[in-house]
Amino acid sequence: MPVAQRPRMTAAPSEQEDMPRRRLLSWFTSVGLFGSAVLSAFSNFVFIKPRATYGQPARFAIGKPEEFPPGTRISLDARRVCIVREGGKMAAISTTCTHLGCIVGVSDTGFACPCHGSRFDQDGNITGGPAPKPLPWYKVSLKPNGDLEVDKGVEVMPGTYYNV
């Protein structure tokens, strides 16, 4: 008797319930696979740019604003930037010559490259020589502890000053 009954008792309800169950399972499967695909794609895009690199850091602290009295033009050769302060305005101008990468010197009229005679004015614009582009300006900001910070990874428009 039970042998005869079993197909009838199980087959009839399962025919109807199987469809929603099957749909639910495929929904779960697709959420799982699609979700992990999205996560990996996102991670891959994020990791294209490393969070930290070796080599000389692009971002560095240069000290308190008081260490640079108004009128200062100091070239930090190790960092290859020139710190400029005019009144309450501060800026960091690159001292790497845009021609072949020599360190340009700070002169009365602006910057002068010792290698091939490129000349730049006070704001880094070309006034002579083989340099193809003006000297870039870098972003200056204030760290929470009051130190000035130069970020050589971010160039700003020439003439953009940071107000101390």
């Binding site: 099957r22 399972l25 495929s26 779960f28 499967t29 697709s30 959420v31 799982g32 696979l33 979700g35 992990s36 996560l39 990996s40 996102f42 991670s43 994020v46 969070r51 930290a52 070796y54 080599g55 000389q56 850091p57 560095f60 602290a61 900001s141 204030l142 929470p144 502890n145 009051g146 130190d147 107000n163």
Partner: protein, 592 residues
């Protein structure tokens, strides 16, 4: 099937999610956000607030190239307030690094100026730790595979528990200060200076070499010891030298915990090339380095030298006792000046298995010290045998006569166990008395004859036999042993003796007959070193035959007559042993 697929894809999603979370949500981000919030509350004007708003958590790193290998220190990623003076007294990691005049920081107009700027020095130059790590476990060096945990702050989990409390404290950082501040007695590194003094006053320099400082050869070279080992290993090696090398004979010196700490800090500062010197300067220094002992003013007395060279770090002399080496109080009665001088120049030329280092003092100093020691001729006041035993014998043979005196471990051959009745009763009384009165050549047993006249020596032997050996002596069956070796020494006889020796004896006595065979470590007392010329020369053929044929009771030496050695064989072995030892020159004991 579909269910399995659904579950599997969900598991993949969860794993992905966990990895994603781990890679994109960090503890250090939370620390930085907390810092920005607190800084915003402290900020004074709109501009500062705007600056803070514009900031997002990011990895802060300092790249330091001036101190050895390039370091990438990311400590500031969590310890972001280390250089912000407003956060003094906050909980770590958001606490200002302390300012201290001792570190050279200066207070100007109410504002501290650091001597060691973090942008120039980084963090790991002073603190150690793994600069690139961004999790506590790695960056603080808790990972047992990282060789440099934060000095004085982090103890790794596998360090011995009883050492851990000793290995904490800011004084350990002095080991890193000394990488640049190499001057002796630099005010900022008192523990290093103290450790350096102890290195000399405890005579570590006699055995260990440190480039430019000492020339010892018995122990390991310590020039780069701080680079190779962590502080726990250094501590363990000083207080328990046998923990890492079972056969080490480095003595356990009498050192307080403070002494050990100073020594550990001093040793941790020995890292080969330090930051203060260039490789060229180091190359020149190592080639120019000739360690000259400080010139002694003429006419300096041996007594002062003995004190200055800290002989009592090991030896006993009068009231001072290092607890490691024999008593020198009556040295003048036991040895003569020539012996002491030659023993100073090379201790192993007189006692072949001595652990005493050959110090490299000038000869005049050796002469002065030998003269002083040879002049110590006042004998101890006569006393009862029991008191005499405790005064003269117990240092080596032990208070209970079991051969476990406090210096026994450092003596080779070891002092005789006087409680072993098997040995004591198998030897004739005359021989035991002879050992007391004239000593045992080539060993640390001195000739007590000058201190103990015959009747007192006799009383001493009686005391030893009744107190320690206890078992009554029994009649021994007579041994059939020739008075002199009947086999004439010849190349053939020696070769045959060597063949038998390698087959029968080398398991314990070693192929080189130096008593260090493969079984020797399991045997107490240790097998005899048969290359000890003084000892072998003093043995009669009769004693050699007796020991080989009938064994030595109370030791592992079997009676070889039971294993089929004939008199001819033993004669060949004796010829072989004699051929190994040249006739020693110089007397062993004070002339009587």
């Amino acid at each position: 099937m579909r269910l399995a697929l659904a579950i599997a894809s969900f598991v993949v999603l969860i794993v992905h999610g966990v990895v994603f979370y781990d890679q994109f949500f960090h503890r250090w981000e939370r620390h930085q956000e907390a810092y920005f919030d607190q800084a915003r509350a402290l900020s004074k004007n709109q501009q500062e607030r705007a600056e803070l708003e514009a900031r997002a958590p990011r990895i802060e790193q300092v790249i330091v190239t001036s101190f050895g290998d390039t370091r990438v220190d990311r400590c500031g990623t969590c310890h972001i307030a280390a250089d912000d003076p407003r956060f003094q007294g906050h909980a770590q990691p958001l606490r200002t690094h302390s300012y201290s005049a001792a570190l050279g920081d200066t207070l100007r107009n109410g504002r501290w100026e650091r001597r060691h700027k973090f942008s120039d020095f980084g963090c790991t130059v002073c603190h150690d730790g793994q600069g690139r790590g961004l999790e506590n476990y790695y960056s603080h060096g808790e990972d047992p595979y990282w060789p440099e945990p934060l000095l004085g702050f982090v103890t790794q989990a596998n360090w011995r528990a009883e050492f851990k409390p000793h290995l904490r404290g800011p004084e350990y950082l002095e080991a890193n200060c000394a990488q640049c501040h190499t001057e002796e007695n630099f005010a900022g590194t008192p523990h290093v200076s103290r450790g350096r003094k102890l290195f000399f006053s405890m005579n570590c320099y006699g055995c260990h070499r440190i480039e430019g400082m000492s020339e010892g050869t018995l122990g390991p070279d310590l020039t780069e010891v701080g680079k190779k080992w962590r502080v726990d290993y250094l501590w363990e090696s000083i207080v328990d030298p046998r923990a890492n090398l079972a056969t080490s004979f480095m003595p356990k010196f009498q050192l307080s915990d403070a002494d050990v700490e100073s020594l550990v800090i001093f040793l941790k500062s020995r890292r080969g090339m330090n930051f203060a010197e260039t490789s060229l300067a180091r190359y020149r220094a190592t080639h120019a380095a000739e360690i000259k002992p400080a010139a002694q003013p003429a006419g300096v007395r041996g007594e002062d030298l003995v004190r200055e060279h800290a002989c009592t770090a090991c030896h006993k002399l009068g009231a001072e006792d290092g607890g490691i080496a024999p008593d020198l109080t009556f040295e003048g009665l036991l040895k003569d000046e020539d012996w002491i001088f030659e023993h100073f120049r090379n201790p192993r030329s007189r006692i072949p298995d001595s652990i005493m280092p050959a110090f490299r003092f000038p000869e005049e100093e050796f002469h002065a010290m030998a003269g002083y020691l040879a002049g110590r001729k006042s004998p101890p006041a006569p006393a009862s045998p029991a008191e005499t035993y405790q005064g003269l014998c117990a240092r080596c043979h032990g208070e209970k006569g079991n051969g476990q005196g406090k210096v026994a471990y450092y003596l080779d051959p070891a002092p005789r166990d006087l409680t072993k009745a098997g040995f004591m009763n198998s030897k004739p009384r005359e021989r035991l008395l002879h050992s007391i009165e004239t000593g045992v050549p080539g060993t640390s047993m001195p000739a007590w004859g000058k201190i103990l006249p015959p009747e007192r020596a006799e009383a001493m032997l009686g005391y030893v036999l009744t107190t320690f050996t206890r078992e009554p002596r029994r009649e021994q069956a007579a041994h059939r042993v020739p008075e002199a070796n009947p086999v004439a020494s010849s190349a053939g006889s020696i070769a045959h003796g060597e063949q038998i020796f390698v087959q029968r004896c080398s398991g314990c006595h070693g192929r080189k007959a130096d008593g260090k065979g493969p079984n020797s470590l399991d045997i107490v007392p240790r097998p005899r070193n048969l290359r000890n010329s003084f000892f072998v020369a003093a043995l009669s053929d009769r004693r050699l035959f007796d020991s080989i044929l009938y064994g030595v009771q109370g030791t592992a030496m079997p009676a070889w007559i039971d294993y089929g050695l004939s008199q001819q064989d033993v004669g060949d072995i004796v010829n072989f042993i004699r051929s190994l030892n040249q006739k020693p020159t110089g007397s062993q004991y004070a002339r009587r």
